[in-house]
């Protein structure tokens, strides 16, 4: 096609369209109209041809009509005065004997987006609502919504609303659904269409006649209906049952959402529905289209929040294929982390290990982060893998491993020794900000266990001039001061140099202020500095250690099958692959020393408040516990009424951590007899405890737990207080459950 500027094209087309010779030849005429449309779709402004196109609409040829209507809809708002000319033709078409023409004309008339249109379309729409062809009624019903959107501020026409509610009984299912859609739009400001009992049951009964799109929409509308009685609720649920297996994923997801919402008060029904939907959900995750797979995965992720165990056996479904796009791989890795259990941990880790050497650095880092998160429960295996990865000497890998190490040490103090050893052996120098921060945090916090820590810090201090990131500098200051407190002799000179540089030459105000702050603080004396800088070495509330507790379904049910879970905008960023749990150490390691300073004095009085100073450390090994347990006699025994074992032993463990009682071991859920072993330190004594539940809980679920306590050396007041703390915790949990 020869290149023509837009003006020339328009001129040429105008000449052709007004040429009587061409007008008389139908085919040639239509071809020119086609060219107009083509230029229009390419973004050319052909609105100048409006007059000629209006003339062309007076024809019997339906295709030509369609084309001209398309043109008119696009430009009507630009040329409102000319568009009025076209209306006459359209109104005439609305009375055509062919229902197709009637529908077409009505639809396009409603699509004219220009002011003052309402008065012309009002009458045809009312006629259309009563038309005998369902095709026209469908168009007319939606026309009501379009008419309303032309004048959003106008009063709602009650007559039309009534008419639409009446048309819900129309024999044509699409008309019925269109009524819902139109009412929803018209009544938006009043909270949308009202679903009362007769309407709800009418919709439910007609669900089968609808196509899958309409089904999915009607199911969404039904979310508004609250059944009056249990019987009604279960009647509805049994009607919906078959739809859970629909071959259309949208219908299945919409049904599941409705199920979960309706059965909000019946957790057992919810669990059952999730069980039934598991197959279809997994099928969506294996769908041909990658977008569907992605959406399926996002939904599985939501279900996992309540039922991590449900998909445990299907873990292989979530292994990444080579050619899958990155957004799917990220989701799959997140899911794998959630799915891990004792049986599959080996295979999952093996698989994730394979991803760590992926060509894309982002993916590799996400895989390493995933291994790090599994490490919170299965530290040993993961530490081996992570340490092995350091051997690859790839910068992005080392950086990600360091970040995982940092989070691990913060959350599972027992892995500290292994991590320190690995960090010491690592010679790779890091370049990226995140990795450097992690390494510096480790050096500062645990420098006493890394013999080469001062040298590693020194190289960073020497390279300070070339360091661009101010966060790294802040972290470096914190780390250096921390290490100085532990190893003053080696660090004094370095700290001096660092402070000198930061105060005299640094341009960044933040860094300079922090350096000045450190300097003044050091002037107040070592003890004062230590109090401010040496925070806890591991997460003081160890809840995260045990993994996410199972959430009730209702927490997320209202988000199911909505856009929210799919567009978490951080999906593509591997760094934020971690949930809020790991954000915590990252925050504290970004080292707001001031925050640390505030945190510490706060926690000291808190300890003081506790009448009995229970503390977690020093940790007790399994062997030591066993030895003590066998040597000692029971000093105290009491039954505590308890509806146990708790819904998940992990919850109990987390709760006990909060009051500084360490759980050493416990049996799995739903095992009888159920046992748990605990220990704690208090007032210079070591307290060991055994919780034992014999036999199944009685019918009403309330059972009792036999608690035996042993102590060395003996101190009666301490043991009494320990028992009362334990009692409070267990009772609180029981209340939570019931």
């Amino acid at each position: 096609m020869p290149y023509l500027s837009s003006e020339e094209t328009v001129k040429e087309l105008k000449r052709a369209l007004s040429n009587p010779n061409i007008q008389s030849d139908r085919l040639r005429y239509r071809n020119y109209i086609l060219r107009v449309i083509r230029s229009m779709t390419q973004g050319l402004d052909v609105s100048a041809l409006f007059m000629d196109m209006v003339k062309a609409s007076a024809t019997v040829d339906i295709v030509q009509k369609k084309l001209v209507y398309l043109y008119m809809c696009t430009y009507a708002s630009l040329k409102p005065d000319l568009a009025l000319l076209a209306i006459n033709t359209l109104r005439k078409d609305c009375a055509d004997p062919n229902p197709m023409v009637r529908g077409l004309a009505l639809r396009n008339m409603c699509n004219f987006r220009m002011p003052g249109m309402t008065e012309y379309i009002h009458q045809p729409i009312l006629m259309g609502l009563k038309d005998k062809a369902s095709y026209v009624r469908r168009v007319a019903v939606l026309g009501c919504a379009k008419m309303h959107s032309l004048q959003p501020t106008a009063e709602i026409d009650a007559a039309i609303v009534n008419e639409l509610y009446g048309l819900l009984r129309d024999p044509d299912p699409v008309v019925m659904v269109n009524c819902l859609r139109a009412l929803e739009e018209i009544l938006r400001h009043e909270g949308g269409v009202v679903i009362n009992k007769p309407i709800a049951h009418h919709l439910l009964n007609r669900l089968k006649e609808l196509d899958s799109w309409a089904q999915s929409e009607v199911l969404t509308f039904l979310l508004r209906y609250k059944p009056r009685s249990e019987d009604e609720l279960f009647d509805i649920l049994s009607l919906l049952d078959a739809l859970l297996h629909s071959s259309h994923a949208p219908v299945m997801a919409a049904t599941l959402r409705l199920f979960l919402q309706l059965a909000a008060a019946h957790p057992a029904v919810q669990v059952d529905a999730l069980e039934q939907a598991r197959g279809p959900l997994l099928a969506t995750c294996g769908s041909q289209s990658r977008e569907m797979r992605f959406a399926g995965l996002c939904h599985v992720q939501q279900v996992l929040r309540s039922q991590p165990a449900q998909f445990g056996v299907h873990f292989k479904r979530f292994f990444c294929g080579y050619s899958e796009p990155a957004y799917i791989k990220f989701r799959k890795m997140e899911i794998l982390v959630e799915l891990v259990n004792d049986e599959n941990v080996g295979l999952v880790l093996e698989e994730l290990k394979g991803y760590c050497t992926d060509v894309s650095p982002d993916l590799a880092q996400a895989a390493i982060a995933a291994i790090g998160r599994i490490g919170r429960t299965y530290s040993e295996k993961c530490l081996d893998i992570l340490t092995g990865l350091l051997g690859l000497k790839q910068e992005h890998i080392t950086s990600a491993v360091m970040q995982s190490f940092r989070d691990l040490v913060w959350l599972c103090p027992q892995s500290t020794a292994a991590v320190c050893q690995a960090v010491e052996a690592c010679e790779e120098s890091l370049q990226d900000t995140e990795g450097k921060q992690a390494l510096l945090w480790l050096l500062g916090m645990h420098g006493d266990q890394i013999s080469s820590a001062p040298y590693m810090l020194e190289s960073h201090i020497d390279g300070l001039k070339t360091e661009m990131s101010s966060v790294v500098k802040l972290e470096l200051l914190t780390a250096t001061v921390r290490l100085f407190l532990q190893r003053p002799a080696e660090m004094q000179d370095m700290l001096g140099r660092l402070l000198h540089y930061c105060i005299e030459e640094e341009n960044d105000m933040n860094v300079r202020d922090r350096a000045l702050f450190c300097y003044r603080l050091l002037g107040c004396g070592v003890e004062e500095t230590r109090r401010v800088f040496q925070g806890p070495k591991s997460d003081p509330c160890m809840g995260v250690l045990t993994g996410r507790p199972q959430e009730p379904v209702n927490n997320w049910a209202s988000w199911f099958n909505t856009l929210g879970p799919l567009c978490g905008d951080d999906v593509a960023l591997p760094a934020s692959c971690d949930t809020a749990a790991s954000a915590q150490p990252a925050q504290s390691s970004q080292g707001d020393v001031l925050a640390g300073a505030v945190e510490e004095p706060l926690s000291i009085p808190e300890m003081g408040h506790q009448p009995l100073g229970l503390s977690l450390g020093p940790p007790l090994s399994h062997e030591a516990f066993e030895r003590h347990w066998l040597e000692l006699d029971v000093t105290h025994r009491e039954p505590i009424s308890f509806q146990g074992p708790p819904s998940s032993p992990e919850t109990l463990q987390a709760a006990l951590q909060l009051v500084k009682i360490q759980t050493l071991a416990f049996s799995r859920e739903n095992v009888t007899p159920w046992k748990a072993y605990l220990y704690s330190h208090g007032s210079g004594t070591l307290i060991l405890a055994e919780l034992l539940q014999d036999g199944p809980a009685e019918g009403d679920g309330s059972g009792s737990l036999a608690v035996s306590l042993k102590q060395v050396p003996k101190n009666d007041t301490v043991i009494q207080e320990f028992a009362s703390v334990l009692r409070t915790v267990l009772q609180t949990l029981t209340e939570d459950v019931s």
């Binding site: 062919n98 099928a283 996002c298 856009l563």
Partner: protein, 418 residues
């Protein structure tokens, strides 16, 4: 619901737009382009992008992005499936769904989009109803149209909506009454280095082409229906009868449709039809490596494996290959680093082998990861899951139809790690 649709080619040109409500400016696509740039590869663009005023939901298919603009909260699966339906309809109408065919048929595309959505709500999406509203272009018809000046728009309304069964039009008549079923199974599998299966599943579909007069009521039964898990059906199938008797009972739509789809995921049930012996190694010193791949049949139930192709994405540092194949042709693209070995039929007596040396950029470190083999193949006359149709009965009509079932097994995402 769906406000606007933009079609964008992989070069980033918007070549078609359609608005169902008010016009949304093209500038909204800038958010999409931003995401596209960030993603690098076109496949990696996330399907849902949120912008300050809209959501953009897109699918990438046949090298075209279908980007829909959404203004209110919608079920995401719904929109994604709808966009795929649009693409499938184009494919159905024009034989392929590509930028050039869409541009050539721009008028039909607009007509279709107009019928498929009204005011942003799906209207008519079933292919056989659409085809009555808008006739697909064929060479013959376009010639006839040119001569007679008639159009490709049906002058009457589709009758399907008037019958009591929404998926079937009333008064269907054929001279030859026939019902054909294709059972198509795809194996998705990952095989590890040592040849053991990491994961495997079969995704099967039964596509039907039914041309029967009147209102036939069909019953299809299987030899071994317990095999299937995760089944999903066309709305015409009576689910209650499947639950109780494990037979498919249905009044079929007229023409081609997908009767059911299913998964077989229990690993011991998934037979792996071929095995691969491979040895790919790069030498620590010097800039070279060796490659040696042999393929052989494993569990093929005596059927022939055809259309065998091996595709490998080689490491970036690989410069060239010097390989010889005992069968088929091989090609290495030095730009994309993709090695394709097209084998063809697998002969169990003489196993195909590809062998030779690889040369690597000098000085570059040894690649850490060996390439993955993607294998493609086809087996005719076999459903690898062992699924068999035992009989098809017809009630409600007097005549005797022609019946036929065809089985085919294909490789889906079939990978071998090295």
């Amino acid at each position: 619901m769906i406000h606007s649709l933009f079609l964008i080619n992989s070069a980033g040109d918007i070549f078609l737009e359609k608005h169902w409500k008010s016009v949304v400016g093209r500038s909204v696509c800038d958010y999409f382009f931003e995401a596209q740039e960030k993603a690098g590869e076109p496949e990696n663009v996330p399907p849902v992008i949120s912008t300050p005023h809209h959501y953009l939901i897109n699918i990438f298919r046949d090298r075209i992005f279908f980007v829909s603009v959404i203004q209110t909260e919608v079920p995401p699966l719904f929109v994604i499936e709808f966009l795929h339906r649009v693409a499938e309809t184009f494919q159905d109408y024009f034989g392929e769904c590509s930028e050039s065919t869409i541009k050539d048929n721009v008028v039909i595309v607009y007509e279709l989009l107009e019928e498929m959505l009204d005011n942003g709500f799906p209207l008519a999406t079933e292919s056989n109803i659409l085809k009555e509203l808008i006739k697909p272009p064929t060479i013959l018809r376009s010639m006839v149209n040119t001569i007679t000046g008639s159009s490709n728009v049906g002058a009457t309304l589709p009758t399907g909506q008037l019958s009591t069964i929404p998926w079937r039009r009333a008064g269907v008549k054929y001279t030859n009454n026939e019902a054909y079923f294709d059972a198509i199974e795809e194996i998705d599998a990952i095989i590890d280095k040592s040849g053991s299966t990491v994961c495997a599943e079969i995704q099967g579909v039964i596509d039907a082409c039914v041309k029967l007069t009147g209102m036939p009521d069909l019953t299809l039964s299987f030899m071994n229906p317990r095999l299937l898990d995760d089944v999903s059906f066309h709305p015409c199938v009576r689910f209650k009868r499947w639950e109780s008797e494990r037979v498919l009972s249905f009044i079929p739509p007229d023409g081609s449709f997908r009767l059911m789809s299913y998964h077989v995921s229990a690993q011991n049930l998934v037979a792996i039809p071929i095995y691969v012996k491979q040895n790919i190694s790069f030498f620590e010193s010097g800039s070279s490596g060796r490659l040696d791949i042999t393929l052989g049949p494993k569990q093929t139930m005596g059927k022939q494996v055809e259309g065998l192709t091996v595709t490998m994405h080689m490491p970036k540092v690989l410069l060239s290959v010097n390989l010889t194949a005992t069968q088929g042709t091989h090609k290495f693209d030095p730009v994309t680093k993709v090695l394709v070995w097209d084998i063809g039929k697998l002969n169990p007596q003489k196993l195909p082998n590809l062998k030779g040396s690889l040369s690597v950029q000098s000085g570059a470190p040894k690649p850490e990861e060996n390439p993955t083999l993607n294998i493609d193949f086809k087996i005719q006359q076999l459903a690898i899951s062992g699924l068999k149709v035992s009989r098809l009965d017809m009630y409600g009509e007097k005549y005797k139809p022609f019946k036929g079932v065809k089985y085919i097994t294909k490789a889906g995402r079939f990978q071998v790690r090295t």
